[in-house]
């Protein structure tokens, strides 16, 4: 069942669940951040509409810099603006920023400790028809390896908006990973979001029979013996997901639950700094983990989770993600299935992880 404390979208399992673009959530968050703080400026490398900076450009024309197709300059100019007290947001496709300009980001932003916020749009194979050149599936790896860099991968448009507003308030460099396609709205305005905090979105339900028995039991013995509180079973596998695939992870969890396999799903929106305590708590409780990300399995969120758990709570881990391959043209749905990141893949991985328990 959905974790009630997470206050998620009640329509999440419906066929007609609302859809939204994570990149548009970023664009809205940028406006909110800029309204709140005059220091926020925006720079874009010739993809203003595509990276959803258009509204910012119209509303704050003097605080917007059109860079042309020059991502290296994009990063280093932003560093210079931050040196003068600005909070620059820079955008391009993730493949080009932080892809092409990685070293400028490392030296002039991270090493130099300037609070530049890098928003990489069109991350993941779900970019679709543009093909492998434009599908950034290495961006989490290359950003999380940098000291000081905060890495956030929002699961839907609403979380992207919150992440952007939160990023503007930190004094560190931040990378925000954005997807192009419309994806299901998972969260609501009331869903908690905090940089560095993982959230449990799905947890084992109290089985119906246990609930009914408890009610009957309490009627029969009311006032005579202490009421027996029904308990949810312990989850036997934890699915840790990031980005839009959190939705698929929740769909997989629902199927597993129907099969009688109690499961928890964690939204790990902040890949760095890792919420280590939440991770080892989940690993210790479930004894098996599946990581789900639209990214290379090498070096991405799953690797970060493995680094943490190998040290603190070693349990079997299965990794859903792109398995050391490049992307190609296709529809987003086709590509997610082709590269093994669909709901059925997650279900199979969960069962495999459970079987691997000693």
């Amino acid at each position: 069942m959905l974790n009630p404390a997470a206050k998620l979208n009640p329509k999440i399992f419906d066929k007609d669940v609302e859809l939204g673009e994570i990149r548009t959530g970023f664009g809205d968050g940028l406006i909110a951040a800029a309204d709140a703080d005059a220091k926020v400026v925006a720079l874009c490398a010739d993809l203003t509409d595509s990276t959803r900076m258009e509204k910012f450009k119209q509303r704050f024309p003097t605080r917007f810099i059109e860079m042309g197709v020059a991502e290296q300059n994009l990063a280093a100019v932003a560093s210079g603006m931050a040196a003068m007290g600005k909070i620059p947001f820079i955008t391009s496709y993730a493949m080009f920023s932080p892809g092409r300009n990685w070293e400028q980001i490392r030296t002039t932003i991270a090493y130099n400790n300037r609070p530049v916020k890098i928003a990489g749009s069109h991350a993941g194979v779900s970019v679709g028809p543009d093909g492998g050149t434009h599908q950034a599936i290495e961006d989490i790896a290359i950003t999380r390896v940098m000291p000081r860099m905060v890495v956030i991968s929002p699961c839907d448009a609403i979380e992207a908006r919150k992440a952007t507003i939160a990023a503007a308030k930190t004094n560190t460099p931040v990378y925000i990973r954005l997807a192009r396609e419309k994806t299901p709205i998972i969260t609501t305005e009331l869903t908690p979001f905090e940089i560095g905090k993982a959230q449990i979105y799905f947890q084992p339900a109290i089985p119906k029979y246990a609930a009914e028995r408890a009610v009957a039991h309490s009627r029969k013995f009311r006032g005579i013996i202490k009421e027996e509180k029904p308990k949810a079973p312990k989850a036997v596998v934890g699915i840790v997901a990031t980005g839009a695939l959190v939705h698929k992870a929740i769909m997989a969890a629902q199927s597993l639950e129907k099969e009688g396999i109690p499961v928890k799903v964690m939204n790990l929106a902040t890949v760095k700094p890792l919420d280590e305590e939440a991770l080892w708590t989940l690993a210790n409780e479930t004894g098996a983990i599946v990581t789900v990300e639209e990214h290379q399995v090498h070096g991405g969120m799953g690797s970060a989770v493995a680094e943490c758990l190998a040290k603190h709570a070693p349990v079997p881990i299965e990794f859903i993600g792109v398995q050391d391959q490049f992307g190609q043209s296709g529809t987003p749905a086709e590509l997610i299935e082709l590269y093994g990141m669909g709901v059925d893949h997650i279900i199979a991985a969960a069962k495999k992880a459970i079987l691997r328990k000693k």
Binding site: V41, M81, T107
Partner: protein
């Protein structure tokens, strides 16, 4: 208002002292770069004199100060030495260059030495940062901002494409307060710039990007003063000063040799030659 004879003499003396410090730092460090720091000593001396930048060594974070972005970070011994000679920190600290825990990192890091405007080393991104500083200043203070942002570049590093991205943007945005100074010493690690990757016609390249270009003798204070004054007077374009310098200026035996780009004097003979040339 050009420099008086007395001012020039004072500057020449200070530049000489800075060169002595550079050589002593390099000898002590046993690694580092010789040619660029020595040939840029006069320009740095000028920038850190009353006619040069607006700065306050006792208040390095004074908000009104001009900014100096050193793009070719490997020539930092000249920056460190000039800062010490200008009162930013004690001279003894120069001997810690490149040593564990020293604020004088092998390539400059602004957190280790907070008086620095930026960290640098990997080539080709200083001009961009200077452009960003001018853009930010323009948002806050408009086009008539009096602050100047100086970007110091090597000629070899102009091989990096990032510079030309920055040059294009500065031209487009007509960044008058931006003054780039190129150390035109004609050498880079592997050889002479015109053999490795020809830059000429360098002035034409900058002009084509929308810049005001002036050249100067990088070892003549009156000419440096004239070029900087000219650049300051340009309102509607960024300016670049192509400063003709002699690599390793001050140690005749090392001068113009590209071999001295990236090494310090280490053998007793080299050390003797350098000291003899500078301690006369």
């Amino acid at each position: 208002m050009s420099l008086t004879d007395e001012q020039v003499k004072k500057l020449e003396k200070k530049a000489h002292d800075i060169r002595v410090s550079i050589i002593e730092m390099l000898i002590e460090a046993k690694s580092g770069h010789t040619a660029g720091p020595l040939d840029m000593a006069d320009i740095f001396t000028y920038l850190y004199c009353p006619a040069g930048m607006k700065y306050d060594a006792k208040k390095p974070d004074w908000p009104e100060r001009d900014r100096l972005v050193l793009s070719n970070g490997h020539i930092c011994p000249v920056l460190y030495a000039t800062m010490a000679h200008s009162g930013y920190f004690p001279m003894e600290r120069l001997k810690t260059l490149r040593k564990l825990g020293s604020p004088l990192q092998g390539h400059p890091h602004r957190e280790w030495l907070p008086a620095l405007e930026t960290s640098s080393g990997p080539l080709g991104c200083g001009l961009s940062q200077a452009v960003g500083m001018v853009l930010a200043d323009r948002i806050d203070n408009g086009r008539t901002a009096s602050r100047r942002i100086f970007a110091l570049l090597g000629d070899g590093e102009l091989d990096e494409g990032n510079n030309w991205e920055a040059a294009m943007l500065a031209g487009k945005e007509k960044l008058g307060p931006l003054i780039a100074i190129v150390d035109r010493n004609n050498i880079q690690i592997d050889g002479f710039t015109e053999d490795i990757m020809p830059l000429e016609p360098l002035a034409d390249k900058w002009r084509a990007f929308g810049w005001h270009v002036t050249e100067c003798d990088g070892h003549n204070f009156r000419d440096i003063d004239r070029a900087v004054g000219e650049a300051r007077a340009v309102f509607d374009k960024p300016s670049v000063i192509l400063a003709r310098t002699i690599a390793s200026k001050g140690v005749p035996e090392f001068e113009r040799h590209f071999e001295w780009h990236g090494k310090p004097p280490t053998t007793p003979e080299e050390i003797a030659v350098a000291r003899k040339a500078l301690h006369n």
